[in-house]
Symmetry: C2
Subunit: 380 residues, 2 copies
C-alpha cells in the first residue's frame, strides 16, 4: 500500500487537477510504482462540477498522472466519495479483477464564496424536501445534536471536548488546514452557527487531495517494507433525508457497515487501537463513537470529555486533527483518513504518533448518514 | 437479467427520482425480483447536481426503490456513466463479490434551458482548455467530422444517411423521444448547428432512465426464461481534451475497450449480429463503426450509406433509434443500450425486431472519447 497527500488548506493558486496529481504522484513515489503498473483508477469527488465547473473527472486526472487506457472511474457518494472509491477498489483487488489500483480523492472548495459552498454541500441532502425547506448541513446536524442532548443529556461541554482534542491533534499535523490548539473556553464561546453548534463544532472548507495504492497482499512487498492490510471493509446506505429516519441520534448505515467490517476482520470494537472518524461536526464524532461500538449508546459525550479519545487515551480518535482541524476537502476525506492511519501504523506520524497502532479503523460518512464506509486496517 | 426503461422524452411533470424509480421498479418486475434481493446498486448519472440540484444520488434513488442498507454507489463517467456502472456491476458479480446487482442510469435534462444544457454538457470536456476557449460538444464533434471528411472523403450524405436510418428506427420505438422518420433531403437541409453538423446530426436533450438487473449465470433461471449473458466487457480511458489526442478521427479508448471485450468473449467484429453504438453525433456513429471493426478505417460513411447498418442490413446498428432519435438522457444511455439489445435478443423488439440477434454489442462513449465501455452480450 502506498499513500500520498497534499496539505489541506485554502490554495487560491492551485486547481483541482494539480491537487489530485500531486497526491497521486506522491502516492506512486511512496509505493515505488510507476503509472504503467496501475490497472484501474477510482477517483472520489463530491462536487467538482459545482465547485470548479469540471465533470468527467476520472480520466481528467488519470491521464495527467500518465495513466493511460485503463478503467478510470469517478465515484460520488457525498462526503464518503473516496471512502466508497476505496471500497470499490478493494473489492476489485480482493476478488482478483485487478492487482494494482490507484484510489484518489480530491475536492477544490475555496474558489467559491462560503454561501455558495453551503449551497453545494446541501445538494448531498434531499433537495426536494429538507433542503428546499431551508436546511443546511449545519442545521441538520444541529437538530441531531439537540435531539442527542435531549435524549441522552449530552452537553455543550461534550461537544467542545471533541473540538479541543481535534484541534490539539491538528496543531501537530504539518498537513492540517488549521494548526491551532484551542482552549475549552474558546470552544465553548465560538460564534454561533446553528444552535447548539458554534464555529468550533464545524469542520473546515478546504482544498486538498489524497491517494492510496492497493495491491494484493502477496505482492505488497514489491511496493513497501511496511505493508498494511485491509482486514475488513463495508459500505452501507440509508435514507438521504433526515426526516425519513426513525431515530436521528444514530446512523444505521454506520452500524451496518461497521458490523460487517468487524465480522470480516474477525475483531471487536474493543480491539481497535486507533481510529479516524467522520467529525464533520463535533456531534458526528460523538455519535460515531457510539455507532462504532467504542462507547455505549448515548455516552459518546462523557467518553470524549473523559479523555478516552485523546492521543494518550486508550482509544485515540482523529489523531490527524480530523475534519475539524485537518480540514475537510469533501471528496478527499475518505482517502485521507486511510493515509493518516497508515502513517500511524508505519510509525511515521511524527509528534502525533501513538504507541499502539497495529489495528485501526476509518469511518467515512456521506451526508447525514445515507452513505457510510468503514475500513479496518491491520499491520501484516 | 431483468430490464426496465422509462420512455425517453421531455417530461416537465417528472423529477429525476421518479424516472429512476420507474425504471428500477419495471426492471425488478421484469426479473420477478424484490428489492430485498438486491445486494448492491450502481447508479450512472452524469450531472444531476447541475441539472436538478441533487447530488448523493445513489442512496437517494435506491431507498426510494425500497432497497435498504446495501452499497449504493453513483458512477460518473460523462455520457458513459451507466455503461461504466454496468461494467463495475458486472465485475462485482463475475468475481463473486455480489450475486444480484441493480444497475440504473438516469438523467433529467429538460428542466434547464438549452444554452445551460450545452454548458453543463461541456463540463465533460476540458474546462481549463478547450471549453474555456469556447468549445461545445457540437463544435468538438464538428472538428472531428471536418477532419474525417478531409482525411477520408466522408461527405454530408454519409452523415445524413446515419440520421435517416436512426430516425427510421426510432419511429418504430414506442419509447423513443422523437418518433419521426425523415428523408435524405430533410437530413441534408437541417438547420446548421456547428458546420458541417446540422440539427439532424445531433442527438436529443432528453429525460429518461433505464435499469438492468444482473445475476450470476447459474442463477439466471430464477429471474428470466430468456437469459442473456455478458460474454465480454471492458472500460477504457483516454485524454479528455481533444487537443491532446494525436488523431481525432479515431478514439483509442473505443479500440482498446472493444479489443479487450472481443478477446474476453472470444468473438470477432464480423460475428456481431447487431449493435447499439454511441451516436451522440452522426459522425460518432461513423467512427464507432470503424473503431469497433465493423467497417475498415475511413469507410464508416460509405458503409452507412450502402445500408449495411439498416435494420435489414447485415449489421443492424441502433435499431432502437440511437441517441439521435430514441433520445440521449446522458446518464441513462449506457443502461438503455443494454435494455434495447436485450429486447432484440428476447425477440421482444416489436416492429424493430431483427432476425439475427444471438450476439450483440453495446458501445457507450464519454465526452469526446475519454471514457468508453464496450459490452458484448450473447443468448445462453
Amino acid at each position: 500500500m502506498g499513500i500520498g497527500k497534499t496539505p489541506f488548506g485554502a490554495f487560491p493558486d492551485r486547481d483541482l487537477r494539480s491537487l489530485a496529481v500531486e497526491a497521486g504522484e506522491k502516492c506512486l513515489r511512496n509505493a515505488h510504482a510507476n503509472p504503467a503498473q496501475v490497472e484501474a483508477v477510482f477517483l472520489g469527488n463530491f462536487a467538482g462540477p459545482a465547485f470548479v465547473g469540471q465533470n468527467h473527472l476520472a480520466p481528467y486526472v488519470s491521464t495527467a498522472l500518465g495513466i493511460q487506457g485503463v478503467p478510470a472511474t469517478r465515484i460520488e457518494g457525498a462526503c464518503a466519495s473516496s471512502g466508497s472509491a476505496f471500497f470499490h477498489a478493494f473489492t476489485g483487488v480482493a476478488s482478483g479483477v485487478y492487482d494494482i489500483v490507484l484510489v484518489a480523492g480530491v475536492e477544490k472548495m475555496t474558489s467559491q464564496p462560503t454561501p455558495r459552498v453551503t449551497e453545494i454541500l446541501a445538494s448531498a441532502g434531499d433537495c426536494s424536501g429538507e433542503i428546499k425547506a431551508g436546511s443546511t448541513f449545519a442545521s441538520l446536524f444541529a437538530m441531531i445534536a439537540r435531539r442527542h442532548m435531549y435524549q441522552f443529556g449530552t452537553t455543550r461541554e461534550h461537544l467542545a471536548a471533541v473540538a479541543v482534542k481535534n484541534h490539539a491533534n491538528g496543531a501537530l499535523n504539518p498537513d492540517a488546514h488549521m494548526r491551532k490548539a484551542i482552549t475549552m473556553e474558546q470552544a465553548m464561546a465560538g460564534k454561533p452557527i446553528a444552535e447548539p453548534l458554534n464555529l468550533y463544532d464545524c469542520s473546515l472548507i478546504s482544498d486538498g487531495a489524497a491517494a492510496v495504492l492497493l495491491a494484493p497482499a502477496e505482492r505488497a512487498h514489491e511496493f513497501t517494507d511496511k505493508p498494511v492490510r485491509v482486514l475488513g471493509i463495508a459500505q452501507a446506505s440509508d435514507f438521504v433525508a433526515l426526516d425519513q429516519k426513525p431515530d436521528i441520534t444514530t446512523f444505521p448505515a454506520v452500524r451496518l457497515a461497521s458490523e460487517k467490517a468487524y465480522r470480516m476482520a474477525g475483531v471487536r470494537p474493543a480491539d481497535i487501537q486507533l481510529a479516524e472518524v467522520h467529525d464533520c461536526f463535533t456531534i458526528a464524532e460523538i455519535i460515531a463513537l457510539e455507532d462504532l461500538g467504542f462507547a455505549p449508546r448515548g455516552e459518546g459525550g462523557p467518553f470524549s470529555l473523559a479523555g478516552h479519545t485523546a492521543r494518550n487515551g486508550d482509544k485515540p480518535v482523529n489523531t490527524s486533527g480530523g475534519l475539524k482541524s485537518k480540514g475537510h476537502p469533501v471528496g478527499a476525506t475518505g482517502a485521507a483518513q486511510i493515509c493518516d492511519l497508515v502513517l500511524q501504523m508505519r510509525c511515521e506520524a511524527g509528534e502525533r504518533q501513538v504507541p499502539r497502532h497495529a489495528l485501526a479503523l476509518a469511518q467515512n460518512l456521506g451526508g447525514s448518514g445515507a452513505t457510510c464506509v468503514v475500513t479496518i486496517l491491520g499491520t501484516i
